[in-house]
């Protein structure tokens, strides 16, 4: 057997497309199936005397379109129905808590779980990352301001000018001292936490939006309705 670099490229392109088509499978099954297909291709190539591009293409043609193999594994893809419930859930989950504290977000959660466009994992992600949406960020921001705000004290000292210099108005140096505040690593952590709470609702929304755009799979043998 002599394999060629061009043959290797064709095979890795094919397996790459297959891997992409199988992206909705659990990782272990996805690796297993791609591995089995790779093994098949290797065995088929080993049977060739000396391979040309056409031989490798013929092997891949016999295996079939990666999309077809994905359909055999996961069932045909059907587009998701996206309606008012999904749109309202996507808006209310991040910002509902800002419009109507807690309640706005809670309505978003109810809509999320009513919708059939997302699976249970998506719904858990939407509910828990983070609970309250941006409302949690707002609460954390206020709480942070209350605990930090009273700890800084500042005083101004006049800057003594060299004799003869005409300075108007007089200049002061402002010195601020943090008293009774939290040690700086804690403060940094708190700010990082705040940033996460600010960004996370939008990441979650992006994830749910992407899940809406990816097609739903109906296992073979089950009604597509």
């Amino acid at each position: 057997m002599t394999t060629t670099a061009a043959g290797d490229a064709l095979v890795s392109d094919y397996l790459g497309r297959l891997d992409c088509e199988l992206r909705d499978l659990p990782g272990s099954r996805r690796r297993e199936l791609v591995g089995e297909m790779r093994e098949h291709i290797d065995s088929a190539r080993a049977q060739l005397g000396s391979e040309g591009d056409r031989d490798v293409r013929a092997i891949l043609d016999r295996l079939g379109d990666p999309a077809e193999i994905a359909t055999a594994e996961m069932g045909p893809a059907v587009p998701r129905r996206v309606g008012a419930v999904e749109v309202a859930a996507l808006v209310l989950l991040p910002i509902g808590g800002l419009i109507l504290p807690f309640v706005g977000w809670a309505i978003g959660v109810v809509l999320l779980w009513i919708s059939s466009a997302w699976n249970t994992r998506d719904k858990l992600v939407g509910t828990l990352l983070p609970p309250g949406g941006l409302g949690l960020f707002a609460v954390a921001l206020v709480a942070g301001a209350v605990t930090q705000g009273s700890t800084a004290s500042c005083h101004a000292t006049p800057i003594i000018q060299p004799a003869g210099a005409v300075v108007s108005p007089p200049e002061f140096q402002l010195t601020c001292v943090m008293t009774g505040g939290l040690p700086w690593p804690v403060t940094v952590l708190l700010w990082a936490g705040l940033l996460v709470l600010l960004v996370l609702p939008f990441l979650t929304m992006g994830y749910l939006l992407r899940r809406l755009r990816s097609a739903r799979r109906v296992p073979l043998g089950e009604p597509a309705a």
Partner: protein
Amino acid sequence: MRGMVPNPQARDPLIAQMRRGALEYCVLALLGERERYGFDLVRTLGGMDGLVTSEGTIYPLLGRLRREGLVDTVWRESESGPPRRYYSLGPRGRAALDVFNEEWQRFRDAVDRILTGEAT
């Protein structure tokens, strides 16, 4: 090409469904003879005219049969290269195959009689 279904009508969903249903039992029947290496099994099925359109779709079928407990797999050393996964028929697969065998004979005879006009 050998093993490929040439005409587009063969992609009719009903025919595809019928083929898929029968293919499952063809896998069980081949494994009923002896345990087989996945590649040999797939090439044997793919070499039959009109049975499989894309050989690659047999691997998802094998995965499902394994999850349903109809076939078993075992890793065996090979003279060349890494160990290979062999498939064999389990007791439940044997039982399912026996039921299908009987049903298929009756079904095939009935359809044949109608198609050839013997029934009237």
